[in-house]
Symmetry: C2
Subunit: 242 residues, 2 copies
């Protein structure tokens, strides 16, 4: 499985993905699930994928193939983010037409789930969740975040913390705490992580880092969060009827 | 859906269940998912159920039916908790034989998931997770808790806090925090809650309370936990690369 979370905040966009892929438990690998397309000053796009890896990779390859020819509709000549989301949805449908029937014969569901977000000059940053049918939804002020994959473990902390006005720094921190809770409770999500932050109107990636076992900041977050959580728990009143 | 969690601690057993049942989102009801069988001083048993409500109720009815005749194998004449778990498993299989085929015709899975725990004089308290096939697993010192239903949202906090040596009071508190996180993130889990605590060797229920909107302790836990969590989050260091 996978866990990816992205936020569309007033200050910009935050994307975080893990990198574990597994087919059963005896076939576990590391594959990055984040793809970045950037034309500094003009547009910056980030995509994250969950579901069957062959499907995800096919979608990415198709999108890159289209980039090669300037005439064909692609991610670099899409006029706005809505059009970007439609083109990603189209790529998903193309893979569905090619592969879904064959996959089904082998009992494999066609179940991709994607996040695409970014900013194109002249528009505000936007963030979309693309489903297996190629349709999609966009974040709003009320729900500024999207999760795909093993989303449930890390949802409570995001629900409690993330608002549209959350800073980029707090957004990234919350994404990492949410990921830590998921990794502790689910073997199919694992390091290294990819964290990408895009400042509003910068039209470039502000920060794109890979976080492995040796990342000091992540280790600090992990340790301190667990400790503070236990402290906060201890300070909660005990039930008097026990 | 449902969320139930139970713990087998050195000091005794803790059981917590919600009470929301839904078929779609437009058919939502309140049904208690906890059943207690008690013969003070001799045995005390608590069962919680998740999955299709008609299946859960049939299992409970069958078990109660067997209690009526002292000769038939039932929960009151089972020699030990292993035998109790087998009898619950048998009841699940009986419902499967009667109903599963008919349910399948209507596209409804036979998917009950049950927790049965308690203590019978002469034995330590024991706790079992019973699957749809009637087979079951028991808690161990390493994994002293069982969750059924919408288990993922509330798993991280249980993973961080609950050990075999956790006190009954902390166990109950942790179960309530875990339930609160689940209720906030998932509409299909809701109040009122049933909380049942059994002290080791008491062979009787120590505390069995219903927790609704107006329960002061739960309201305190909800408010304070959210607040402390946000405090703890604020105190985490910010990433320096942002």
């Amino acid at each position: 499985m996978t866990y990816c979370v992205a936020m569309n905040l007033e200050a910009g966009l935050v994307f975080l993905s893990d990198s574990r892929t597994n087919a059963g438990v005896d076939h576990v690998n590391t594959f990055r699930k984040m793809t970045v397309w950037e034309r500094t000053g003009e547009r910056v796009l980030v995509m994250m994928t969950a579901g069957n890896l062959s499907v995800s990779q096919s979608v990415i390859n198709l999108l890159n193939e289209h980039l090669a020819s300037a005439e064909s509709p692609n991610l670099y000549n899409a006029a706005n983010m809505f059009e970007v989301a439609r083109r990603v949805g189209e790529a998903v449908r193309e893979v569905d037409r090619r592969d879904a029937a064959a996959l089904k014969e082998f009992g494999v569901d066609f179940n991709p789930s994607l996040i695409i977000g970014g900013q194109i000059r002249g528009e505000a940053p936007r963030l979309f969740h693309i489903y297996a049918a190629g349709n999609f939804i966009e974040t709003t002020n009320d729900t500024p975040y999207i999760q795909i994959g093993e989303a449930k473990y890390g949802k409570p902390i995001v629900d409690r913390i993330v608002r549209r006005t959350t800073t980029l720094s707090d957004g990234a921190k919350c994404a990492l705490v949410s990921m830590d809770s998921t990794i502790r409770s689910n073997l199919s999500v694992g390091l290294p992580l990819d964290l990408c932050v895009i400042e509003r109107d910068a039209l470039a990636v502000k920060s794109h880092i890979s976080i492995g076992q040796d990342n000091t900041y992540y280790a600090q977050i992990r340790g301190q969060w667990g400790e503070r959580l236990r402290e906060a728990f201890t300070e909660l009143p005990n039930p008097e009827w026990l």
